[in-house]
Amino acid sequence: MAPLLEARSLCKAFGAVTAADNISVAVAEREVVGIIGANGAGKTTFVNMVTGYLKPDTGSISYQGRDITRLGPRATARTGICRSFQIPQTFARFTVLDNMLVALNVARKRDLFFWRPAHDAELDAVAQGLLAGLGISGHRDQIAGTLPQGVRKILDIAMAMVSAPKVILLDEPTSGISTDEKHAAMDTVMNALGERGVTILFVEHDMEIVERYAGRVIAFYDGRILADGAPAQVLSDADVRRYVVGGELHRRQPRKGVA
C-alpha cells in the first residue's frame, strides 16, 4: 500500500550546521510513530519541514501522492496535516472557547466572513464537544494565558484537531507536564486521535511514553536516522541506547545493591 506521507532524502543545513542529512521516512495511514533523539538531533527540523515551516534544501515530501515540499504552513494545514508545538501556541488573551472558535471558523473556511458573528450555538457546541473529549471543558471560559501548562498543551492539540486532520505531528506533547499527569494526558489525547483515525507522529523524550504509545519508533541522531522500526527493536539497538536513550532507559532499571 502506498504510504500516506513520505519524505524522501530531506537535507537541511543552517550555515555549517546540518540539521537534516538525507532523511527518508514513509508513514502509513493510522500509524503511530514516535520520534526520538537528543536535543539538536533534527527532530523538530523534520517536523518543521513536513508542516511547511521550513523548506528542505534538497529532497521532497509527498502526502497522498501529492508533492507538498514547497507548501507553506497554511497550505499544508489545508491539505490535512496539522501540528501542535513544543511551546503551546495559543491565543493567550482569548478564552479557551475563543481559541477554539477561531480555529473552527478557519477550519470551516469562514475566516474572511466579516458580518456574521464568529460565535454561534452550533460552533459553541462543536468546540465544547472537542474540549470535553480532551477533558478540558471545565476551562472553557478561562483565559488561555492563565492556564496550567498541561491544559495549554492539550488546548494546543485541540486547536490542531478542529480541522479533522488526517495526519497530526505532536512536538513533545508531554514536555512541561508533571510526571503524574503525563500518562493521563497522553491517554486522553491518543484515544481522541485514535477514534478519529488520525495518523500520528509524535516527538518525545520520555521513553516510557514512546514505548507505551508508539507502534513504530524513529531515532534521530545528528540530523540522520539512526534506527527505524518496532519500539522494542529500536530501543534495544546498541547505537540508539548509546547515542539517544541510554541514560533514559538505564534510569528506569532498579539499581542492584541499592536498598
Binding site: 504552513p73 497554511r74 501556541q89 491565543f91 475563543d98 480555529a103 478557519v106 466579516f114 456574521r116 458573528p117
Partner: protein, 314 residues
C-alpha cells in the same frame, strides 16, 4: 445574535436620530466641532481596527487626506458638487490606493509597519506641498456642495452635511462593531497575539491584514471627505505626521475596547483643546498635554476603561 437585537447596535442606531435632532438646538460652534470630530473620528476608527490586529499606523493621515483631496479636487476641478458623489469618491480613492499599497504593507508588522505607513503619508504631504496647482501649503476651497441635485441655502446645507456626517459615522461604527465580532475581526486579533498559529490553522494572516488595511483606509477616506465638506477646504496638513499622530493618540487615550470610544474621546479632546485655547491662548498645549498625561497615568486602558470599570462593578 441578530443585528437588531444587539444592544450596542441599537444604542448606536438610536444615536443617529438623537444627534441629528439635537443639531438645530446646539450652538453652531458645538455642532461644527461635533461634526468635525465625528469625521476625523472615522480615521481614528481606522487606526483602532488596525490596532486590534496589532498594527499601529502612524500614517493614517494619508487616507484621510486622499479622501479629502479626492472630494475637493472633484468639486474644484470637475465641478461635481453632490455630497454623496464626493463622499463615495473619497472612499473609493482611499480604498483603491490601499488595495495597491496593501500588497506592500501587509508584509510588515510592528515598528516596520508604523514607519512605512508614516513614510507613505509624508510622501503625499511632500507632493501636495510642492503642488502649486493644488494651492501648495494653503490648499484650496471646495465649491458649494449640492444635495441630491438640490442647492439648499447655506444654513440648510450645513445642517444636511452635519446630518450626513452623523449618519455615516455611526453606521460605520455599527459596521465596525459587527466586523470586530466576525471571524475576520477575531482572526485579526488572533494575528496580533500569535500570527504563526493563525497560519498553522490554515488562514492567511497577510490576506486578513491586507483587508483590514483597506477597511481602515476606506473609513479614513470617508472621514477625510466629510471633513472637507464640513470645512469647505482641504490642505496638506491632513497628511502631515501631526494629524496621523493625533489619530493614534486619540485611539490610545479613548481606548480600543469599543467602537464608540474613539468617537466620544475625539470629541472630548477636541472640546478640551477649544477651551484650552480660549482660556490660555499661548500655553494651551500645556493643558492638553497635562490632560493626556493624567489619562495615561490613571486610565492606562483609555477613557473607555471608566465605562468598563462601572460595568464590572455592576
Amino acid at each position: 445574535m441578530s443585528v437588531l437585537t444587539d444592544r450596542n447596535v441599537l444604542v448606536l442606531l438610536a444615536a443617529i436620530p438623537l444627534l441629528i435632532a439635537a443639531g438645530p438646538i446646539m450652538p453652531d460652534w458645538v455642532r461644527f466641532f461635533l461634526q468635525v470630530s465625528l469625521a476625523s473620528g472615522l480615521a481614528v476608527l481606522g487606526v483602532v481596527v488596525q490596532m486590534r490586529a496589532g498594527l499601529v499606523s502612524f500614517g493614517q493621515g494619508l487616507y484621510y487626506c486622499l479622501g479629502a483631496y479626492a472630494a475637493g479636487m472633484t468639486g474644484h476641478f470637475v465641478g461635481v458638487t453632490d455630497v454623496f458623489a464626493l463622499l463615495g469618491l473619497g472612499i473609493v480613492v482611499a480604498a483603491g490606493v490601499a488595495v495597491v499599497l496593501g500588497f506592500l504593507m501587509s508584509r510588515y508588522r510592528e515598528i516596520f509597519f508604523a514607519m512605512l505607513s508614516l513614510a507613505l503619508s509624508m510622501i503625499l504631504y511632500g507632493l501636495l506641498v510642492k503642488a502649486e496647482v493644488l494651492g501648495s501649503t494653503d490648499g484650496f476651497n471646495l465649491p458649494k456642495a449640492t444635495f441630491l441635485g438640490l442647492a439648499p441655502t447655506e444654513q440648510a446645507l450645513r445642517f444636511a452635511v452635519y446630518a450626513l456626517t452623523c449618519a455615516v459615522t455611526l453606521l460605520a461604527a455599527i459596521f465596525l462593531y459587527r466586523y470586530l465580532k466576525s471571524p475576520m475581526g477575531r482572526i485579526g486579533e488572533a494575528i496580533a497575539q500569535n500570527e504563526i498559529r493563525v497560519e498553522y490553522l490554515g488562514s492567511s494572516a497577510r490576506t486578513v491584514v491586507h483587508i483590514t488595511y483597506v477597511l481602515a483606509a476606506a473609513l479614513s477616506g470617508a472621514g477625510g471627505a466629510l471633513a472637507a465638506l464640513a470645512n469647505g477646504h482641504v490642505d496638506p496638513e491632513m497628511a502631515n505626521w501631526t494629524t496621523s499622530g493625533q489619530f493614534v493618540f486619540v485611539a490610545l487615550l479613548s481606548g480600543t475596547g469599543n467602537v464608540a470610544a474613539p468617537l466620544i474621546g475625539n470629541f472630548l479632546l477636541e472640546m478640551i483643546r477649544v477651551y484650552a485655547v480660549a482660556w490660555s491662548p499661548y500655553t494651551w498645549q500645556l493643558i492638553l498635554g497635562a490632560t493626556m498625561l493624567l489619562v495615561i497615568l490613571f486610565l492606562p486602558g483609555g477613557l473607555w476603561s471608566l465605562v468598563e470599570r462601572r460595568k464590572a462593578g455592576g
